[in-house]
Subunit: 264 residues, 2 copies
């Protein structure tokens, strides 16, 4: 289970404030806390600074790399920003993300091949979102084609089938769960990943909904997630889901996490 730690994101107020006040220590502590909590990648995102994203994201990459060589997940919808910043990155990172938009594919895929990065591919086109399991699977297939044509191995592709709010579509989670299962079966070697927050939009007790969805997704085959690993309730659900899903032999990892006080 590959965890992408989502905390260093300028959509969070504390991160936005640390960015504007150049509080490097705050950012570095966020990085350390997520590493200690078991993350595999540190997502860095400065997307809320429209027009200044590149400058702020550069600073995030620099200050995080001052304290760790843990792999980053470079998170921007702008391919030019990613292209400009990749040379700074010390350890082969993950790129978050491509969609089926031609412009993003053209710029990003050669970089994925050149820098030997991982890449998150969203089931989304320039003019269409995939809401049904069938549409998600079709778009996943197109992503696999494009990535393979660029000489990138399946193992470097993390497909995010995306999830939309349950409050407005009762079948929204099921569509994503079905897509996860089919993607994992039809494209061996390809990973699936997912952010959780959309699913609970508009509902009370959102964290309960998010971690319940994560459990269902892991049991259906999800092998990566974009989460806050310092949320012990969520992390506990994740570790328990791995034993339920038969992914943790004799529950060794679960028991270890319990002993380390990491299960909520």
């Amino acid at each position: 289970m590959i965890i992408i730690g989502e905390r260093i994101n300028s959509s969070r107020k504390s991160i936005s404030q640390a960015l504007t006040s150049h509080d490097a220590e705050f950012i570095q502590n966020e990085a350390k806390a997520q590493i200690e909590a078991g993350t595999h990648y540190l997502d860095v995102n400065a997307g809320s600074f429209v027009g200044e994203e590149e400058r702020y994201l550069r600073w995030l990459i620099e200050v995080v790399q001052e304290v760790t060589d843990y792999p980053l997940c470079i998170d921007s919808p702008h391919p030019e920003v990613i292209k400009s910043l990749l040379p700074l990155v010390k350890t082969a990172p993950m790129i978050n993300s491509i969609t089926l938009e031609p412009r993003r594919l053209e710029v990003i895929l050669p970089l994925v091949a050149e820098y030997k990065t991982k890449v998150i591919g969203l089931c989304q086109a320039a003019d269409a979102m995939a809401e049904t399991a069938e549409d998600k699977l079709t778009m996943a297939g197109h992503l696999v084609e494009k990535v393979t044509a660029a000489g990138v191995s399946h193992d470097n592709l993390y497909i995010d089938p995306l999830v939309y709010p349950l409050a407005t579509n009762t079948d929204s989670a099921l569509a994503t769960l079905d897509a996860i299962e089919h993607i994992m079966k039809e494209f061996p070697g390809v990973h699936t990943t997912c952010g959780l927050t959309n699913i609970s939009y508009g509902l009370p007790n959102r964290k309960l909904v998010n971690r319940t969805f994560l459990v269902a997704a892991i049991v259906r085959g999800l092998d990566s997630a974009i989460i806050d690993p310092t949320d012990k309730m969520l992390y506990g659900s994740l570790k328990a889901a791995l034993i339920i899903g038969g992914k943790d032999e004799f529950c060794m990892d679960y028991v270890t996490a319990f002993r380390q006080g990491r299960l909520g």
Copy 2:
């Protein structure tokens, strides 16, 4: 989602004490608390009183029926005990349980037909437990045959595929989850139910494991469970699993339960 409230069971120390001291009020309060928490059936079990089970179970049935006509779930492995006590029961109950043991089937099935009860069928024979999904499904098929031959409709059968400890068999939960999905598909109208506590035997933070398994099972189709409905963390997971599984249109039940303060 049919909830069978499991709290009135003599394997719990407080219930055992109330039984020996004839503390009717304690038992009645357990019944009321579970009704308030959303149970559909009240399980009553005096199985730990070997040789005196019938006398104690009779008393449980009587004291609970003094305060409510909520349906009971008469829980005993001894068909004679069930046969003797059924005439006392005011509202058509559930019987917990039959297995494929001929003696239990011979005594219980005519009672199920006569008293128009529901019945829980365990995937278990006199000489064999079903540990794989295939074996569970085979035994489920035999249960369906026997019940149908006795003139009992599918809707009155609740199949419990049983679950064994994850600590000794990494694939134990997956076998039960696969069985649930196949039973629900192959025998339309039949229900599935499950107790949760076996799954976590020998593991730390058992409640986390139990509720995580419940989520996975509901998303695979489980439509009944034998649980403690007053456990708010568990009940919250159950309600959230129903929205993830597309069983709660526009999340109305979930939001109602939240407003009533019933989600942990």
